[in-house]
Symmetry: C2
Subunit: 520 residues, 2 copies
């Protein structure tokens, strides 16, 4: 527009912030399939979809993240025009609590709902650790019954099997925060003043699947220095307190025995620990909280068993903690048991792909009355990665691109465009080559790159005869690979042929059928 | 846990920040259907999905928003740990440009892609104006051909018809920024120094569908005071300059004539304005930019016409501007022409539901070489609102909830849970009542609220006989509405019946069939 020489603009670097990923067609399709499968299971359980926005008031989300002592407390936050603080949601549970509280009277209660969506965490990204990732949550709000917790666990197991995991490749592990609270009470860590130390103990227990037990002891007692020299402060327990905590969380037998006892009595007040439970002297101090937790676990177990979900699918595990602070009762974790090999042949264990629990206090923060709730969240990307690995040995489904109509004569682009429209109107995926048409070689290379099943060519000779050339790229690739020995076979089904322009749709459809490609 | 009286916590208000919406099951399902329809059309055109994260570096997104003089310049931004600025994406085009630049060598070129996703604008929300909304974009990167622009316009038209809009209810309007640039050049607004004034003129033109033409004159000349008294500065044109601008944008005939001329010559350099074009004295100054734009419009029109897209579907309209700054050539807008009535019976015109254009400079900011690109964006929520209105007269599809198994005897919850599992295993959507089971009336009310087709009841009498009661809620509602006159009919198809527990699945399935409800 101006005759002045253009200022050379500063060239920007095309880059993503760390921990944020792009996704291509194969990954998008795989995730879509996975979400549809989970949705089908949740629908069958009578859950209905609901969606909340990405941005919420910071105070409505609350501060329940693990490792909240990191910069910005793990959350992306910014101030609104009116100076109120907003945050990107860091999970889908806190926004659901806000939603239920805001629409309380309009919702059926109990209210069962599910939602898939992105969440954001302002954390240090690492391998497999992203700052934006997708969760798929299901929650039941308004029921205090352990039947609601049991239902969530059974639904999680059903979802895993619907996705293709075999029985024995996964397990839903169940624990109860009340059991842990009871243990903490017994060792003298009850009361508001000890809230910080309790959290430190829970986080130490949560590391049991990552560290050997002697490292857990360090976290429970004086603290732990990691390989990089960073020091994590301990919970300050003495040896006997730490022994009791480790005995409970590390010994399924102990809690299983207690649960069997609680189950038999069916009543927290009447609960007496089973005689084979260790540390019976500490037990005199655990009180009703612990007993409550044990009885609830027994009820969940009984419901699961009576519905045919054996211990191979839903299992009580006293080491399950879940990092989030808002849990108040039963907590769940779905663990993948299958060991697989990574690209370098090293064994990889998947571990947790989802979890959840009861959060009776989250909705009541808004309501000023008790609103019991329980839920479960799947880490979509982690689960997708696991599915990719178990399906790795299967040949990937060959995905074909559109039919490419080439541009032989650029003056006749409208004619070629019309052929494309004709194919599309017949439901056949098709496109016009839109690059520089000078070189037919480039057009064929483009078609190859697009995985086109065939290309359509019409030069002036063909035009004069009212014909088009169809080049079968799949057949062509096979023929090129097989060379001489298949010469006769090639002759009978040639990789390139011509036909009347009026037969274009029929001939292309024959070709797609021959290669078993669905046209739409 | 502690015996101290609990401090009464400060009760939070459950509220959303302005301009951010929750979405329920019906809305989610409607959007899913809409996205699937659009996806089908775009797939048929050979476009493939790609997805980018919500957060990008602020400088990578650039500043191309209309009304960028608002607080925070319309974008939600925050600083990363390393002090670099991050922003939530405000559209899907700028992130695509970053994606293509970052993956340039790995992508086929031309690269056709589509994506649906949320975008965020830190603007003043209002009716129908949100701070989070969904866009569905399609783009072709790497083709400078007007055939790429024409393809986008045809695809947009196809999408509208696939969604159920009738021919005549929508139109794809096409203009060219080069035409507008040529006009601005002719009135002496060329050159870098006039960039600000050019933008002011373009924004004034963009308001032509909102304001009468005399208000546009004010914006072009000295400025305009709105009803609230706010003053918008004008572009400072004199009367004769403004007359020329208004004549061009306001008179389709003029540009249509010019396009017909350009089309006939087919070459910008040889372009001569048609003799019936007004202001031919200004035209001596429009230069090549204008002529280029006219010739491109002619090519797009010719391609559309030869593919059967008449002026009822794709039409040249010189008043189309598009607010975003990054457009460099053809610009498109999909306008809904249908007038409908709002809830109060007042006529409502929908106007624009999508738009786009050519943005040849956006990818090259990263590449330091020319990378032509063109694209189109649908405003998903606006389009959904329009679909809702045209479908308003149709009775809404009745959506049934799950079968509800009630809890008659709370000790036998495991038995009821097993009935639920039996129904689910047969593919029938079912749930256990998880609220307080004391009152059967509440359970039936809950089932009504969930739109359950029937409830299952088993008291101790039925249990003793190995039977269950099934209460048909649809039939029951009908019978209640019809009262006496249908007494005999009710007798033959009673709303409540009992059956053997072993027949539960069959009887429920019969009931669903009778009401034509799909079981899964």
């Amino acid at each position: 527009m101006s005759d002045k020489p253009q200022k050379k603009p500063h060239k920007l670097k095309a880059r993503r912030p760390r921990g944020l990923e792009d996704r291509g067609p194969a990954e998008i399709a795989a995730t879509e399939r996975m979400l549809a499968t989970i949705r089908r299971v949740y629908d069958l359980y009578g859950f209905e979809p609901v969606e909340t926005p990405a941005i919420e008031y910071t105070d409505a989300l609350g501060k329940f993240l693990p490792d909240q002592d990191r910069p910005n407390e793990g959350v992306f936050s910014f101030q609104d025009d009116d100076a109120q603080w907003l945050s990107l949601r860091y999970d889908l549970t806190a926004p659901l609590a806000r939603y239920v509280a805001e629409n309380f009277d309009a919702l059926p209660k109990p209210y069962r709902s599910y939602r898939a969506g992105y969440v954001w965490r302002n954390e240090k990204p690492g391998p497999g650790r992203f700052r934006q990732f997708m969760q798929f949550d299901a929650d039941t709000v308004g029921s205090a019954s352990p039947a609601a917790d049991a239902e969530i666990c059974m639904m999680a197991a059903d979802a895993m099997e619907a996705l293709g995991f075999q029985r024995g490749q996964y397990v839903v592990k169940v624990n109860n925060r009340k059991v842990l609270d009871g243990v903490l009470e017994a060792i003298g860590l009850g009361g508001d003043d000890n809230a910080g130390r309790r959290l430190t103990v829970l986080r130490a227990i949560d590391k049991l699947d990552k560290f050997p037990v002697e490292e857990i002891y360090k976290l429970l007692c004086d603290g732990r220095k990691d390989e990089s020299g960073d020091f994590t402060k301990g919970a300050g327990l003495n040896q006997s307190q730490a022994d009791f905590v480790v005995a409970v969380i590390h010994s399924s037998v102990a809690i299983e025995g207690a649960v069997a006892g609680g189950e038999a009595s069916g009543d927290a007040a009447a609960f007496v620990p089973h005689s084979n439970f260790p540390f019976n002297d500490y037990f005199s101090q655990v009180g009703l909280t612990f007993a409550d937790g044990i009885v609830e676990l027994g009820q969940i177990r009984r419901l699961a068993l009576s519905n045919g979900y054996g211990e191979d699918r839903i299992r009580i595990d006293p080491s399950v903690v879940r990092g989030l602070e808002y849990y108040t009762g039963p907590v769940f974790e779905v663990e993948l048991l299958l060991e697989t090999k990574d690209e370098k042949g090293r064994p990889v264990r998947f571990g947790s792909v989802g979890g959840g629990g009861r959060y009776d206090g989250l909705v009541s923060r808004f309501r000023g009355e008790a609103v019991p709730a329980t839920g479960f969240s799947i880490g979509v990307s982690r689960l997708q990665a696991a599915l990719d690995v178990i399906n790795r040995d299967q040949p990937p489904a060959q995905v074909y691109g559109p039919v490419v109509v080439t541009v032989f004569d650029r003056e006749r682009i409208a004619d070629y465009q019309k052929m494309v429209a004709t194919l599309r109107n017949a439901g056949i995926r098709a496109e016009l080559y839109l690059g520089n048409p000078k070189n037919m070689g480039n057009q064929l290379k483009y078609a190859d790159r697009r995985n086109a099943p065939c290309v359509v060519i019409q030069g002036s000779d063909e035009k004069a005869r009212g014909e088009v050339q169809i080049k079968d790229l799949i057949e062509g690739a096979r023929a090129a690979a097989a060379i001489a020995s298949n010469a006769e076979w090639r002759e009978s089904r040639p990789a390139q042929f011509s036909c009347k322009e009026s037969e274009l749709v029929d001939k292309v459809r024959d070709l797609l059928d021959r290669h078993a490609i669905r046209s739409t």
